[in-house]
């Protein structure tokens, strides 16, 4: 899946919980299920570790999309972490939407350790959505670019 230079290649940060989604991503890898290289994964112990500050920081530094992946509700390794994450991210993303950040740039997805296929599909879809939205110009730090 090589890209021509003209094509826009978004920067995408994926936060994956160690127990489910990161393992799901590993499974996608060992199953050789491809998704764009634009996605870079940051391993966190649990989706509840993801602070809104991290997400805004990513946008500030030029990310075009941010996706949070965790265990399916009810399956959290820490039993309740993703329930908190779900509320936090719902509210945060709703707020970003409210200030004019296209909602396609943010996403929460529950991916289990067995769902390599889902992981790869999700990433393909997400990258496609972000690509269609184009570069993140609304949340970037202008000073970095002068």
């Amino acid at each position: 899946m090589s890209l021509t230079n003209e094509e826009f290649r978004p920067k995408i940060v994926a936060f994956c919980c160690n127990w489910c989604s990161y393992a799901g991503a590993d499974l996608a890898g060992s199953s050789r299920l491809s998704y764009p290289a634009d996605v870079k994964i940051i391993r966190v112990p649990c989706s509840c570790r993801v602070n809104p500050m991290f997400i805004l920081r990513a946008f500030e530094k030029g990310a075009d999309g941010v996706i949070i992946c965790g265990c399916h509700p009810g399956d959290c390794h820490y039993s309740t972490g993703n329930y908190y994450a779900r509320r936090r991210m719902t509210l945060l993303f709703s707020m970003l939407d409210y200030v004019g950040i296209e909602r396609g740039r943010t996403r929460v997805e529950w991916v289990s350790a067995a769902e390599g296929v889902k992981f790869s599909q999700t990433m393909n879809e997400f990258v496609e959505t972000v690509r269609s939205l184009g570069k993140n110009v609304r949340l970037g730090d202008l000073r970095c670019k002068n």
Binding site: E60, R86, R88, T90, F93, D97, L139, G140, D141, L142
Partner: protein, 321 residues
């Protein structure tokens, strides 16, 4: 009003409270300031009228460290903040003697000026004993009359009600000031296109001077060290005057107070640039109400804040409208 002052005198003289936290007359009729009164004599400077907008709950954080009991005057909306502060262990209930005082709507000098009034030297009609219908404004350029209602702070138009959530005694009458829906403005923005939403907030937030007045006045922002002052996240920010940083500051601030913000409206009241900061907090409140059930911070100390709570079948982020 006289009754209130007598009662305060009585409290001070009997020694049941060591000080009163209320408002002191300013050098104009329209700029009283929050003040402590340590003796009955000092009460000659005391005032309580339509311009006493400050939410004194915030001052109680510090007053909780003082010796003895502080009698604090709280308007109905301020009591929500006080409750919330008790819940977060930021004030000590026993250190406060709460006099729940009535409120007939608080005034905004900016709202008066916005009605084309310049050079104001005196305003009459804001007295709490009065009927609060009309303000007589004396200016350097002549006398004007404006309606009380049109001169109120935004928050009073969406008043939470005349009930005090916590008090030791009640004084003075309140008036109904509610005449607008709290979430109308939020809804209007929600219905804009992404582009227009962004333009709207960009324009508003580009005015921000990062003076931190909104943060410092906010009863929910009572952190001993704010993340934006510390190196905890590599997040220290001071006057970056970059629109992104302003929106980051305000979004994070709103997020940090989400589920804790009582919608007291102080942030919008104090903003020197008139940024409608309450629109951020209200967005969270509206979402919380819609997604997790109606919740009013500060109403009930025993209630769990929606962000430290969950249900098994909460809505997914993607399902939001």
């Amino acid at each position: 009003m006289q009754e209130l002052i007598s009662r305060l005198k009585e409290l001070l003289e009997s020694g049941s409270v060591q000080r009163v936290l209320g408002w002191k007359k300013g050098d104009f009729t329209f700029n009283p300031e929050p003040a402590y009164f340590n003796s009955a004599e000092e009460l000659s400077e005391f005032v309580y009228d339509g311009f006493c907008g400050a939410n004194l709950s915030k001052y109680m954080i510090k007053a909780s460290n003082l010796e003895g009991v502080t009698a604090v005057l709280l308007k109905p909306c301020d009591t929500y903040s006080f409750n919330q502060l008790i819940k977060e262990h930021r004030v000590i209930r026993e250190k406060a003697y709460i006099i729940g005082i009535g409120c007939k709507g608080k005034l905004s000098l900016d709202a008066i000026k916005a009605q084309g009034v310049k050079g104001i030297t005196d305003i009459k009609g804001a007295e709490i004993d009065g009927d609060c219908n009309e303000l007589k404004v004396e200016t350097l350029y002549g006398e004007k009359t404006v309606s009380y209602k049109d001169s109120m702070l935004e928050r009073c138009h969406v008043c939470k009600g005349k009930e005090h959530m916590i008090y030791d005694e009640l004084m003075l009458e309140s008036a109904d000031t509610l005449d607008a829906d709290r979430f109308t403005d939020v809804e209007i923005i929600e219905n804009l296109t992404s582009e227009d939403k962004f333009t709207y907030f960009q324009r508003e937030l580009s005015k921000c001077i990062r003076c931190n007045a909104c943060r410092n006045v906010c009863p929910a922002c009572s952190c001993r060290k704010c993340v934006f002052d510390s190196t905890k996240f590599d997040s220290e920010q001071k006057a970056n005057v970059d629109p992104f940083h302003e929106s980051m500051f305000h979004i994070i601030r709103a997020f940090h107070v989400a589920g804790r913000c009582t919608d007291c409206g102080e942030c919008s009241r104090v903003c020197p640039q008139g940024i409608p900061l309450h629109l951020f907090n209200r967005k969270f409140i509206k979402d919380i109400n819609e997604y997790y059930g109606v919740f009013q911070a500060g109403e009930d100390i025993g209630q769990t804040s929606p962000l430290t709570d969950y249900t098994l079948d909460d809505m997914e982020a993607e399902e939001r409208r």
